[in-house]
Symmetry: C2
Subunit: 261 residues, 2 copies
């Protein structure tokens, strides 16, 4: 489970382990700072940044963080969204726009219950937030096992980044003391796959699909890849199942028994 | 019931009638604008301003309102908090600090249920938000029938004005389609008192308490007044009961039947 034990964070109180806020290509330092202030309000301490536009650290983020700049200081920076979610088992993508993907859609309240449940069961969870101007791109959304959408005024949905972070953090806090009693009875061999394992599966599969020409129609390639990923992501695979699937792919590509004819 | 039927507001969709957002002495126009953006997200359209520091209208509010400036344009300005809540029956005061007042304390979720219930029963409701630097003063809080406090990280509670507005608006939206089935069976003569009537009662009572010397210890005056107001505010009086109480006060002050002795 993610535990941020940086002693500098102590004065923000105990911060939630197991729940990462992942900002993908955030543009303005001020907005990162305000998102961090929202995190501190909700006792969330794990911040990950994917390709922040103006680099990192960014002095513009300090004042808006309103004293919670210690979360800024412990932020981790990644070059790809895939790397940023590699050690997570549950990833939700925050988006206001409907996407043509078959994924579970969670309200913040339902998402918080799901995240709390998973974290209580020893998993690492995270929520992806896109850049201020345009949100997450479809490839980032495709990495998530579910979509987080805030139900708002249907003709005026215009949350800023900090408010989007705040609303899921707020709902997360409201689930405190309401952790589901029932813990998953997982055997060691039934550990849920983390995203690194899922991405390993996808890359393996896609490499083979490219090799065999399945993805040769270039204009359909991206949407096909996304749809395929979604199938497996929705399935909430165990680590064992991932290995099984990879074995199947390898087996199909290089049959040990050559056809007789 | 409050209905904002300004045709200019049409493109924000149907806005909630019966629920006013009241900003008391807001300082920065930007913050008013961001609060309005939060309101539009939550389909709230009724904005009231008490003594905005930089006057009104304020051009600094327009850009942060993010297209919802039509709510700004229909905002009503008041010189006192009392006037701003005069036509409301249910008033909650948003405050992060505990106050030494005996009032119900609501989380945003509980507050939203209460407000939704009252509005569904034909009452007007509102939430008071104080200035950015110091929040509501105790006299403003004393006008409220309950306190609204957002449960946050106990060692880092630092919501900005727009987020405070947003969280109650968000919870209000989440109660949609969950309006309690049971409507209050109020007779006409049991109409709940509005704040104008309550303030009329308080002023009447306090005038008489001043006159009779009850409030002569000047350093205790304010706290005594607040405590007295709280007693009646907690009681959720009907309009008839207010008239009865005022009759009692008048009667006590000027007994029609002179004592015989």
């Amino acid at each position: 489970m993610l535990v941020n034990d940086d002693p500098d964070l102590k004065d923000l109180g105990p911060l939630a382990p197991g729940f990462a806020v992942i900002l993908v290509e955030p543009q303005l330092g001020e907005n990162i700072g305000m998102a961090v202030r929202a995190m501190a309000n909700c006792a969330l301490g794990e911040l990950r940044l994917v390709r922040p536009r103006d680099g990192w650290p960014n002095s513009m983020a300090v004042a808006p963080a309103s004293g919670a700049d210690r979360i800024l200081n412990s932020a981790k920076v990644f070059q790809t969204t895939g790397e940023a979610v590699a050690d997570l088992q549950t990833v939700l993508a925050s988006t206001a726009r409907p996407r043509d993907m078959i994924k579970d859609v969670f309200t913040p309240r339902e998402a918080a219950k799901r995240l709390r449940f998973d974290v209580a069961n020893g998993m690492n969870a995270g929520v992806l937030f896109g850049k201020e101007s345009s949100g997450l791109n479809n490839d980032d959304v495709a990495l998530a096992s579910g979509i987080l959408t805030v139900p708002l005024n249907p003709v005026f949905s215009s949350l800023n980044l900090a408010q989007a972070v705040f609303v899921i953090g707020y709902e997360w806090l409201q689930t405190l003391d309401k952790i589901p009693e029932v813990k998953l009875e997982r055997q060691k061999e039934k550990r849920p796959a983390n995203m690194e394992e899922m991405l390993g599966l996808f890359e393996h599969l896609e490499r083979e699909l490219d090799a065999c020409g399945f993805l040769r129609v270039q204009e359909k390639r991206q949407i096909m890849l996304r749809n395929i990923r979604n199938i497996f992501l929705r399935a909430c695979l165990t680590e064992q199942e991932v290995r099984t699937l990879r074995g199947i792919i390898s087996g199909l590509v290089k049959p040990e028994i050559e056809p007789v004819d």
